[in-house]
Amino acid sequence: MAHLRTETQFTAAVSEQVINDFALTVATANGTGSQTSNLVLLRTLFNIGVPVAGKNLFPSNIQGLPTWYTIRLSKDGYLARREGSEILICMNFATAAEDMAEMEEGGIVVYDESITPAAIKEGVIYHALPVKELVKPFNVPAALRAYVGNMAYVGAIAWLIDLPLDEIRKSLSRQLKGKEKAIELNLGVIQAAFEYCEVNHVHACPYRVRPMSGYNEGRILVDGNEAAALGGVFGGVNLVSWYPITPSSSLAESLAAALPKYRMDPDTNKPTFAVVQAEDEIAAVGMAIGAGWAGARGMTATSGPGISLMSEFVGLAYFAEIPAVIWDIQRMGPSTGLPTRTSQGDVLSAYTLGHGDTHHVVLFPGSPKECFEFGHLAFEIAERFQIPVFVLSDLDLGMNLWISDPFEYPAEEINRGKILNSAEVDALGSEWGRYKDVDGDGVGYRTVPGTPSKWAGYFTRGSGHDENSRYSEDPQVWEANLARIRRKFNASRDAVPFPIIDAPLGADIGLISMGSNDPAVEEARDRLRLEGLETDYLRIRALPINGKVLDFIADHTINIVIENNADGQLHSILSLELGDIKSKLISVCRCNGLPLTARWITSEVAGIASR
């Protein structure tokens, strides 16, 4: 490929260049297949070693509405969402004017020739791209034209920021699963666009890409839902019962794709799993609970509205003590809210789901690696404590590609928890009681149906029951049972993932956050440090909290709880666990459907600190 400038040209230009540290936004209409182009760009950058993050801002719609895809390059590895972009690719007439208006001096705009810029901004460079003409020579069927046309901006970007075309080809063929004809066609368009720019535009773009080493090495690029699905595969999931809902559908669909690959019975080559699309979320979680009760590993994945529908069943699993795993890929609520916008608004709902006095174990993965880890760990916790376990991810972590440390093989063997086999239950005979707290951890021993013993059978119910699971309305029996369940809940505190604490030199201010906020918080801490403000950081990875969290809060003059919802739900839950030192907690939260930005967090925290 002759199209790459020579190294000498590079060095010549370097002085005024911005290397691997800028953002570009592609504005298109959805349903035009631009996702392929965007992913090709992202993967190419990843593969040449540039730390990148892609955030897809898409509508709750199938075709024709505005979509923005922002790719942030950060040689320093800051991969949180960032406001503004140095480079704008305008492919959508509908939003062109607005999009262009947001460009700041020094910005570069590439636009489809069919769109005429509403206003030309001082200090902004504009490059027209005759997409239609560029595609024409390849005479593609009408249906594919828009799709292929999107490759044009890949070529333009390659020309703008020095993307090696051979790397693009690699990504492309990976994306198109090696379909040679398609690859050649698309690459042809990319190349045509590249050459068109080379010939017709003056290259004055300071934003450049340079292959780099370091950050990406040993790391993977994957979205949280896929990682979670693989976690389930290695967690021994037997039943995935789900109901489609954005942004959780891709988790279940990834499982449907991965399980046949990795989980066929080595002896019979038949499935050791079932994936069932239920009629609704109530049935979905009900099936998972039924499977858990019968000794298999059942899970479901949903989002806000599904969580609401699952309340009654989750309350049953809580009180009848049945293991189940529930993934909530949070989207913006209340109600239907914004199905394609991210949020952390279900924390309180999940923690206390169900009428009556209930509290559940909730896990908060903060990266694809943790999605994988919690994907199998959740089953261990669910079976050990015989409880429903929630894993709260969100649209940002679940549906966007993140650079992550690779998946780690589970350190612990699969442990099915306290299940008695026929020999064991025969040995105990009438001694055995389903809800007896033999070990003092509040967790009783259970049997599963099909256990060949006349002692194994017992009756499960969501109504009041005694240690032998017989129906009881006796007040003492009821209180004793609740007390045991509370014991169990407390026992789980030290069995769930511990918080990640970074408190190098004991700062006065402690930051507390969870889940997908991690990169933004870390970046914010660096920025604060530059402003001379040291902060410690604790990332909560599970509820209920344990001593580590309490100590951290006690050790800091101010603890600032950072979350992506309207009510400061995590802050509320911590407040309740704390008692006195609560007054040291200050809530900082917002809720606008977008991942938090480091700039926003920086200004909030700086504001509080300067009080």
Binding site: S241, D265, K270
Partner: protein
């Protein structure tokens, strides 16, 4: 006919006069805890039928699970098969739980007990979808036209213009469990009457052997809230008006059956190799014809006839477990190495996503 003998004969009498079943167990072993239902409640007689048939067929209790929703009817699993696991779930949600159970362990014989409120009111959605998935289970609706446990409100199967003491008149048309099952492509549809032990036991025997979901709509009178003679859900009315379309004899797998074709009989071979022999009574009805079943029900309902017997059966359709093609070993019993791929596999996966890949 040679093959048809009263089930009791199949059980041997060994000393001390206690009759034992094929597993050598006395019937008392198949009992449950004492019933807390009202004396005379139809549901108790259904429980007794289940005890008789499971005992006679020599079902191993540890391989049976008793699933139910909420209601007086749904309480009954506590009153039979003390040796089996039971799950008194949520109101109207027994089907979802049962689906999870059979997927977890395909070897289990699932007996689901529900009520008309539990199935036709709050539960109609899960019922339809369980039927549609052909879950291998016996789905029994103890149909009394009222909500017993909440003290006598109308259920969705109450007749139009029916009167209840505290509720007044029901103006709405009833949902018919059998029609609903058939509409959702059921593979075994039967209607019976708690006041007709013999027929019900025959149907249960066949249901337990059916390949997919066996729906049995049993008129089971609520003596406390809906047993006035004019109510179609009362004992009196049932006895008066029952129109038996066929009665079932059951021939276990191992026994020889001399295939005869008396035209008052139909033999159907069950998926497990055993046979059921349907003695047609009164009306000419071919239970292997969907259309015949549809018309039978339409006519019965438009003329207010209470037809009982096996209305429709299809042994050909695969059940959910077969559709899922699950491995023979129950998923709940798989060893750890079948639940977690090796670390090499994970390496491969990581590679695929890895920088430089």
């Amino acid at each position: 006919m040679a093959v048809s003998r009263p089930a009791a004969d199949k059980t041997g009498r060994r000393g001390k006069g206690t009759v034992l079943n094929p597993l050598g167990l006395p019937k008392t072993d198949y009992r449950g805890r004492p019933s807390t239902l009202c004396k005379g409640c139809g549901h108790d007689s259904v429980s007794q039928r289940i005890i008789n048939v499971t005992w006679e067929q020599g079902l191993a209790q540890h391989n049976v699970v008793k699933m139910s929703g909420i209601g007086c009817s749904s309480k009954t699993p506590a009153y039979f098969l003390q040796g089996s696991h039971g799950f008194n779930g949520l109101h109207g949600r027994m089907p979802a739980l049962s689906t999870g159970v059979v997927i977890a362990n395909r070897d289990l014989e699932v007996i689901g007990i529900s009520g008309d409120g539990d199935t036709a009111s709050i539960g109609i959605g899960q019922f339809k979808h369980a039927v549609r998935r052909n879950i291998p289970m016996t789905y029994i609706v103890e149909n009394n036209g009222v909500y017993g446990l909440t003290k006598g409100q109308f259920s969705a199967t109450a007749d139009t213009d029916q009167v209840l003491k505290y509720q007044g008149i029901n103006k709405l048309p009833p949902l018919d469990i059998c029609v609903e099952a058939l509409a959702a492509n059921a593979t075994f549809v039967a209607r019976s009457f708690a006041g007709d032990p013999k027929q019900l036991e025959g149907l249960l025997g066949a249901a337990f052997r059916h390949r997919g979901i066996s729906v049995i709509d049993i008129v089971s009178p609520c003596v406390t809230f809906n047993n006035d003679a004019w109510s179609t859900k009362s004992y009196a009315w049932g006895r008066e008006n029952e129109v038996i379309i066929n009665s079932i004899d059951f021939v276990p797998e191992h026994e020889e059956i001399e295939v005869s074709d008396y035209d008052d009989e139909i033999e159907v071979q069950m998926h497990d190799g055993s046979w059921i022999i349907l003695k047609k009574v009164g009306t000419e009805h071919d239970p292997t014809s969907r259309k015949a079943a549809t018309i039978l029900l339409e006519d019965a309902n438009s003329s207010g006839k209470f037809v009982t017997g096996l209305i429709y059966i299809d042994e050909e359709k695969e059940n959910l477990i077969e559709l899922l093609d699950l491995t023979e070993e129950p998923l709940a019993q798989l060893p750890a190495y079948k639940l977690r791929p090796s670390s090499e596999v994970l390496e491969e996966i990581n590679k695929a996503y890895m920088f430089g890949s």
